[in-house]
Amino acid sequence: MTEKNINVPVLARVEGEGALDIQIRDNKLTKVNLRIFEPPRLFEKFLEGREPNEVIDAVARICGICPIAYQMSAAHALESIFDMHPHQWIRTMRRAFYCGEWIESHAIHIHMLAGPDFMGYPSALEMAKDHPEVVKNGMKIHGLGNELMSLFGKRGVHPVGACVGGFYFAPTPKDVKTMLEKLETHLPLAEKILEWTASLDLPQQKQDFTCVCLRHPDEYAINEGRIVSSKGLDIIIDDYEQHFQESQSPHSTALHSHLHGKPYLVGPLARVNLNYDLLPDVIKTKLKALDITFPSYNMFHSIIARAVEIYYAMLEAIRILRAYVYHDQPAVAMTPKASVGFGCTEAPRGLLWHRYETLNDGRIKKAKIVPPTSQNQARIEEDLRTYLENYGLHHDDEKLRFASEVVIRNYDPCISCSTHFLTLRVDR
């Protein structure tokens, strides 16, 4: 019997820390263990005893890339516990705020993380030497996303503008006008990025997987909706735990999530696949012209899905800011009480589910946070099995390591929120 073990000790161009162990026996993969180190779980304990608005600021610190997602899921959960009903202005501005995060996060992943993989470069730095405009476009859009986050959050990194009930302040019409002009000026860049991702020579491999995301009847879901799947699941967010199971695996500090016992996909590709009908016609027409079809079950179309969502988020932010009217009550009053509530929003990387139990004064008794990367972990392992066996296990360890990294990076795993980079160990 021939044996081979591959170990990728450090995963490059992934947010956070992770490692991969694969075991090959007689040219077959017998073990694929993605090890992720996951700090959010510690946050659950940190939050106990905290006041509601402390939670909003604390959870923003879980991730430097997607703080708004954490803030929004927490705010929605606490508002549901306290029977608070933020008015339409708050709901709409939260959507614009969140668009900023989708734009900045997706721009980084497309241009700095996944892009070099499909352009044949070892890093964004090397790609920038030959394709400076591509990288500059990405940086520009990334910066715009950060600015949009700052409009409502006062800063792009760990914003502080959101509170339970809405916002601490409403942006001035002057600041909104400046932001709107920048978004309108740079909208053609979003279209260009979509064209560029559609022109990439992506690996062609269809896989069978279940997509999961939020779905809202009237809009492309970001902050609100029911949890739906490509296999017919359609539930309110409160029922998440009845269908999704988390389990501990010895090889990872991140919990593995399964839907009815099986791996599933969350994130941009799942969203575009399930909510394609809710995208504006201008994007559908563009995709048709580019000969790109969704739903797609080629995982590598994730980069195109991200570009679709950048384009969408720019259009949506423009639509909202054009109609902006200053509001002197950007938050509704907080009415703390003891109960249990849930919040679920679409972080750039996918479904981000929170559950809180509060005390009479609204302080946190118990918190549970299920981030997208741990939900995708089982799906990544399943993808690695299929992809590496098709790719050929006879390849040397270096090639297997690179192929593994490309597969993993494609999910944009925020391993800082579920975990540094890939240590690959191959056991042959």
Binding site: M112, A128, M139, N146
Partner: protein, 129 residues
């Protein structure tokens, strides 16, 4: 017009990595008491990643402060007057994967760096892995 100077501290607010934040706080106090020119922008950014390039766009002269780990004693201040000198320094530390050196190298390739950039690395106790 790009003729402004900025002193920018970067790093996480946690542990010894917050040394740049502390320096920036002291400099801000010095500025408010008139010891330092009010024409200089003094800023701290918590692990800005690639956004650092956008954040330094408006300046012609940037002084960047970050924590460092080398064989020097804790509190030692390293100074590098060019990006290449900074990159050649061994054991530069970033508590985040998108390190300052990596981001600035990208900025150099893209022509996005200020005319003058000086790095100050303050020696801290290293992280254990």
């Amino acid at each position: 017009m790009k003729n402004k100077t900025a002193i920018i501290g970067v790093g996480s607010p946690f542990g010894d990595d917050n040394v740049a934040e502390q320096v920036i706080e002291n400099l801000m106090q010095a500025q408010s008491s008139g010891e330092l020119s009010s024409h200089i922008d003094i800023k701290y950014f918590d692990r800005p990643g690639y956004a650092l390039l956008e954040l330094i766009q408006d300046y012609s002269n940037v002084k960047l402060i970050d924590a460092m780990v080398s064989d020097k004693p804790i509190g030692f201040i390293h100074r590098y007057d060019s990006l290449s000198a900074f990159q050649q320094a061994k054991n530069t530390l970033s508590s985040h994967n998108m390190g300052v050196a990596e981001v600035l190298a990208l900025g150099e390739v893209l022509g996005m760096l200020p005319e003058q950039i000086t790095f100050y690395g303050i020696e801290i106790k290293g992280f254990t892995k």
